[in-house]
């Protein structure tokens, strides 16, 4: 394998691993902050115990998010030095701003929260977790503004052989990036909601701490319910933006080969990249794709063949990831409706509880699939329409990347195993018993 392929694999691996922790951090921080606010306002013990229990799981998860994030920042320099040089003027500044305005705050106040139970007043302590929740999400804003710029570059001019900033406001108000941010943020709240429901379900199945876990479950449910609908509605809008901004990605998402007026939407199709066609296309809804993409049944939709072969994204991965994401995205509101109907008598509904327990990984898979569409679907471009991924890679020796790739993979595998072991252990253990 060459440096490019290894670097891509390493980056994909590192990002996906990082992204086991990030969505839960984003979603759960808000949930824990709400729990603690309830506690401060009502003084009820159950909310305090909830804050501590879910907060502990949050913290276990947080640390790995932080340490794996550092790797990502530095990989731009180590593995993608040509890219860094070309776009540092814009991309680098967004990352630097993220660290100064958000990451410092997140790390400092989380530490204050963890170590401040006895030292800080209840209100101050609660303020700390809110600062963490807000800063975490603010950090996501800047990171996604940076990613959004790679997807839809705006506010720049090519000068001195690189992309230079021309209009900062345009860069930070990039509508495509904000839409990505919302989609990701809503998704993260779905992850958080299902995480809480799933673990609560585990305990409710055992009739353990019924009041505690019923209250938790309901909080998770409300969160997951609202945001599973929000993410679907907003996702539709986002797909329409993709249709306008990145038509090749849309064509790959739908495996549409020929440019078609009134493009149908097939409920079942199997793309064949080698033959540049779909080996199966069944259950077409006439004009469906045109309508979904452009709000008009006869709008023309560009097919993949409109681009030279080397300018097309990998079709199968993009196509399958999109199916997976949409499928799961449809399932989530349905699961929420089911849980909502049964919410008054959770303990008796063993099937629901079991399904919810095993659903914990599903939102993770959906959000991973979402990023796979975003990143794979934009290939061969690293910055859409401006710079190809193959031109971005560092001029370094293959063996170096091979070494780091193997090293990081081994390390992450071990850490991931430890992490899952610990999360499971503490999730199973349940909240600390009430002090007599």
């Amino acid at each position: 394998m060459d440096v490019l392929m290894l670097s891509r694999l390493q980056f994909a691996m590192a990002t996906m691993f990082h992204f086991i922790f990030v969505p839960l951090t984003l979603g759960l921080s808000v949930m824990v902050a709400i729990m603690e606010t309830y506690y401060v306002r009502t003084g009820k013990e159950v909310y305090l115990r909830m804050t501590k229990f879910w907060g502990k799981l949050f913290v276990i998860n947080f640390v790995l998010g932080v340490v794996t994030g550092i790797t990502l920042e530095f990989q731009f320099g180590t593995n993608w030095s040509k890219y860094s040089e070309y776009v540092g003027d814009i991309f680098g500044s967004l990352l630097a701003i993220e660290a100064t305005v958000a990451f410092f705050m997140e790390s400092t106040f989380l530490a204050a929260w963890i170590f401040g139970w006895k030292k800080l007043s209840a209100k101050m302590h609660c303020a700390c977790i809110w600062i963490v929740a807000i800063a975490s999400n603010m950090s996501a804003v800047w990171i996604i503004l940076a990613n959004g710029w790679m997807q839809n570059p705006v506010g720049y001019v090519i000068r001195n052989g690189r992309a230079e900033l021309e209009n900062f406001i345009t860069v930070i108000t990039n509508p495509f990036a904000w839409s990505q941010f919302l989609h990701n943020g809503f998704g993260a709240l779905v992850v958080g909601g299902f995480f809480i429901m799933g673990i609560s379900a585990y305990h409710l199945l055992r009739k353990n701490e019924v009041e505690f876990f019923t209250t938790s479950f309901k909080m998770g449910l409300v969160c997951a319910f609202i945001f599973s609908i929000a993410v679907a509605v907003q996702g539709h809008g986002h797909a329409q933006e993709v249709a306008h901004v990145q038509p090749a990605k849309l064509a790959a998402m739908e495996a549409l080969w020929e440019t078609t007026d009134s493009a149908p939407m097939y409920l079942l199709s199997v793309p064949n990249e080698a033959k540049e066609e779909n080996s199966i296309e069944l259950f077409g809804i006439p004009g469906g794709l045109s309508f979904l993409a452009f709000n008009s049944f006869d709008a023309p939709v560009k097919g993949l063949k409109a681009w030279a072969k080397e300018d097309r994204p990998p079709v199968t991965v993009t196509f399958l990831a999109f199916r997976l994401m949409v499928g799961l995205g449809t399932l989530f509101p349905l699961l929420c409706i089911w849980a909502w109907i049964k919410r008054k008598n959770l303990v008796e509904n063993k099937l629901l509880l079991r399904v919810m327990l095993y659903s914990i990984p599903l939102p993770y898979i959906a959000i991973w699939a979402g990023w796979a569409i975003a990143e794979v679907g934009r290939q061969p471009w690293i910055v859409y329409g401006i710079m190809k991924t193959s031109d971005a890679v560092s001029p370094i020796v293959t063996s170096q990347v091979a070494f780091s790739f193997i090293g990081l993979t081994l390390l992450y595998t071990i850490l991931g195993t430890c992490e899952i072991f610990l999360l499971t252990k503490f999730a199973r253990k349940g909240p600390e018993p009430v002090k007599a």
């Binding site: 276990i60 640390v63 790995l64 932080v66 340490v67 794996t68 994030g69 550092i70 790797t71 920042e73 530095f74 731009f76 320099g77 180590t78 593995n79 030095s81 860094s84 040089e85 540092g88 003027d89 991309f91 680098g92 500044s93 990352l95 630097a96 701003i97 993220e98 660290a99 100064t100 305005v101 990451f103 410092f104 790390s107 400092t108 106040f109 989380l110 530490a111 204050a112 963890i114 170590f115 401040g116 006895k118 030292k119 000068r159 001195n160 230079e164 900033l165 560092s394 001029p395 370094i396 020796v397 170096q400 070494f403 780091s404 090293g407 390390l411 430890c418 992490e419 610990l422 503490f426």
Partner: protein
């Protein structure tokens, strides 16, 4: 002008990073020599617990600022020092999770494992950061295109290794003083004695490093061109002496601050000698990455400066609050006894 301001800010950010993460990296590396029992170990972990993460963000910021203000330097530096940097990252990852996981495991074996991770993850970054910076001072083999021409062993030259040893000593002294700040009794005494024991070695290595700097690097030429700048060297000399007297006086906070001043002034002494290069080329000075050929556009530098001028003071205020409020003497209650 903006380039020069950013060059100084760049140096200051790295210096602050060394000053802050320096104490927890140093303390982590010294743990086996300071802790006699489980309670000591817990105390040491607790001494760093509330701070290490906030400290490490300065690294991310220093990296981010290199990226934003001098993208070419970021690209060349990080791809050139590839393997060293990957090792640094892996060590920091192992260290970060050791903080979390150690407190959550119950068996002795698992605790010992995470203790070892803490020591490894603290000592290796201290060493590598020193090696990296000494190599930057010395210049690395980059060609006209900014492509690194060496291998991993290129960095492990005598001067690079001397820099590594110097950093390890600076950090471990700093770490011992931090532990002294946060403890009473036995552990406090041991930390103070250890700091006193490291001090003469540090002085010897420091002097040797300065001499080697004269031999291996061109840093001094900046100073010789403007001899007045040599006065800056008085700051680390003052700090190094003051640190020793404050250790004897057992004024731990002040001794720590003095050691912090030592780290900051040492870093800045090197950085100023580097000016205007960020990454000198050892092949040909004309290939060096300087603030002029590496800087971002004026607009980016201006916007970033505004962000920095607003945000950095705020960060300093809450991190200062954090240190003042949480860096009290550790009691049994803090450890859950």
């Amino acid at each position: 002008m903006l380039e020069t301001i950013w060059f100084l800010l760049w140096g200051v950010l790295w210096a602050v990073y060394f000053m802050l993460d320096g104490y927890d990296l140093g303390l982590g590396a010294m743990m086996p020599f300071l802790a006699k029992n489980e309670k000591d170990k817990k105390t040491i972990f607790n001494a760093m617990g509330p701070f290490w993460d906030g400290n490490e963000v300065w690294l991310i910021t220093a990296g981010g600022v290199t990226f934003a203000a001098f993208p070419k330097a970021y690209a060349v530096m990080f791809s050139g020092l590839y393997t060293a940097l990957m090792l640094l990252l892996m060590a920091l990852i192992i260290r970060g999770v050791a903080f979390e996981f150690r407190g959550l495991v119950e068996s002795d074996g698992a605790r010992k494992f995470w203790d070892a991770c803490m020591v490894f993850g603290s000592a290796v970054p201290a060493l590598l950061l020193g090696v990296a910076f000494a190599n930057i001072f010395q210049g690395i083999p980059i060609n006209a295109e900014g492509v690194f021409q060496g291998g991993l062993l290129t960095l492990l030259n005598p001067y690079g290794l001397a820099g590594g040893v110097l950093f390890v000593l600076l950090f471990t002294l700093h770490g011992c003083l931090w532990l002294a700040v946060r403890t009473t009794g036995d552990l406090n005494e041991r930390a103070g004695n250890m700091a006193a024991a490291i001090w003469p070695i540090l002085v010897a290595v420091y002097v040797a490093f300065l001499a080697l700097t004269g031999i291996y690097t061109k840093l001094l030429s900046n100073y010789l061109a403007h001899p007045i700048l040599l006065l800056i060297l008085l700051v680390p000399i003052f700090a190094i002496v003051k640190t020793r007297t404050l250790i004897s006086a057992q004024k731990w906070w002040k001794a720590w601050a003095s050691s912090a001043l030592l780290i900051v002034s040492t870093t800045l002494f090197g950085v100023i000698g580097l000016f205007p290069a960020l990454l000198p080329s050892s092949i040909n000075p004309a290939f060096s990455i300087t603030i002029y050929n590496a800087a971002s556009s004026q607009l980016t530098l201006k916007i970033m400066l505004t962000v920095a001028l607003v945000m950095v003071p705020i960060v300093i205020i809450y991190q200062f609050w954090m240190h003042k409020f949480f860096a009290t003497k550790i009691t049994d209650e803090d450890l859950g006894y």
